[in-house]
């Protein structure tokens, strides 16, 4: 049975991948997905701690994170669709020009 450090390393690597995704991608929806990836990485570390301490509170936290992530995805996608319908553009650089 792998120890807790294995799960934490995996979680850190996934979080790093998500972080790089947020920084380097240009498509707004892909950036949203990278954020989801980071949230998943955090969930993994919560579940790992919950397992190795036999404490259910970590899982409660994961439950909350999932709900917030779903809400965030809903709002983000709605905004992306609204912007795309109006400007036919999903590049993150374009969003800097949305003023007024």
């Amino acid at each position: 049975m792998p120890g807790i450090e294995h799960y934490l390393i995996l979680s850190a690597l996934l979080f790093g991948l998500g972080m790089v995704g947020v920084m380097v991608r240009k498509n707004v929806i892909v950036i949203l997905m990278s954020i989801e990836l980071m949230l998943n990485a955090v969930n993994l570390s919560f579940v790992a701690f919950s397992h190795f301490n036999a404490d259910v509170k970590g899982q409660v936290m994961v439950f909350f994170v999932m709900t917030v992530a779903a809400a965030e995805a809903g709002v983000g996608l709605a905004l992306a669709v609204a912007v795309y319908k109006k400007f036919k553009e999903l590049n993150i650089r374009f969003f800097e020009q949305l003023r007024g």
Binding site: I4, R25, L37, V47, Q59, F63, A73
Partner: protein
């Protein structure tokens, strides 16, 4: 090696591979599909960690609803013109270098850590964790609906606000529901 270790390494490798593909594939639809696969393999890891309910919810909510929504929206847009995956410009160049080097630091730190054992968190305690009784779904529900009831209700409120907000943002005139 034990069965569970092999399974863990397989799942971890798959998770990292799909996660990597998520941020490097040019086509956003493939990105979303890879992210969905990442979530499914993560659900497998949650199963290994005895968090059965969380794993099931991960499948139903993340992989089954959130990612389907992403894929659906991406398919609605015609993004065939998408040739480059990454943004351009000075600012994003700096971000790129910064992001990749941060990731490199994490990788190096984990590799060094796993050699020098600084990451091994009190292996005696971790071994004791195996012997502890794992919480069941019933325990999760009891804690969720007693100690964290206020947070749970606030989340419900948040979801309601989000639902109203999303409908307001995406409301368009026309279609089959047009009244005026």
């Amino acid at each position: 090696m034990e069965m569970s270790s092999i399974l863990f390494y397989l799942l971890a490798a798959a998770t990292l591979f799909f996660g990597f593909r998520t941020i490097t594939v040019a086509n956003p639809i493939f990105s979303a599909l890879n992210l969905a696969l990442t979530m499914i393999t993560l659900a497998g890891i949650f199963f290994m960690l005895d968090a059965y309910f969380i794993a099931g919810v991960q499948l139903a909510v993340y992989a089954g609803a959130v990612m389907v929504l992403f894929v659906m929206v991406l398919m609605l847009f015609d993004l065939s013109g998408e040739a480059r995956a990454f943004s351009r410009g000075m600012m994003s160049g700096i971000l790129k270098v910064g992001g990749v080097s941060l990731f490199g630091i994490i990788v190096i730190a984990t590799i060094m850590g796993s050699f020098s054992n600084i990451l091994v968190i009190d292996s005696g305690e971790a071994a004791a964790g195996q012997a502890l009784v794992q919480p069941t779904t019933r325990d999760l529900a009891v804690v969720l609906f007693s100690r964290y009831l206020l947070a749970f209700e606030l989340l419900g409120l948040l979801l309601l606000v989000v639902a109203v907000g999303v409908v307001a943002v995406s409301r368009i005139k026309g279609g089959t529901h047009a009244r005026d």
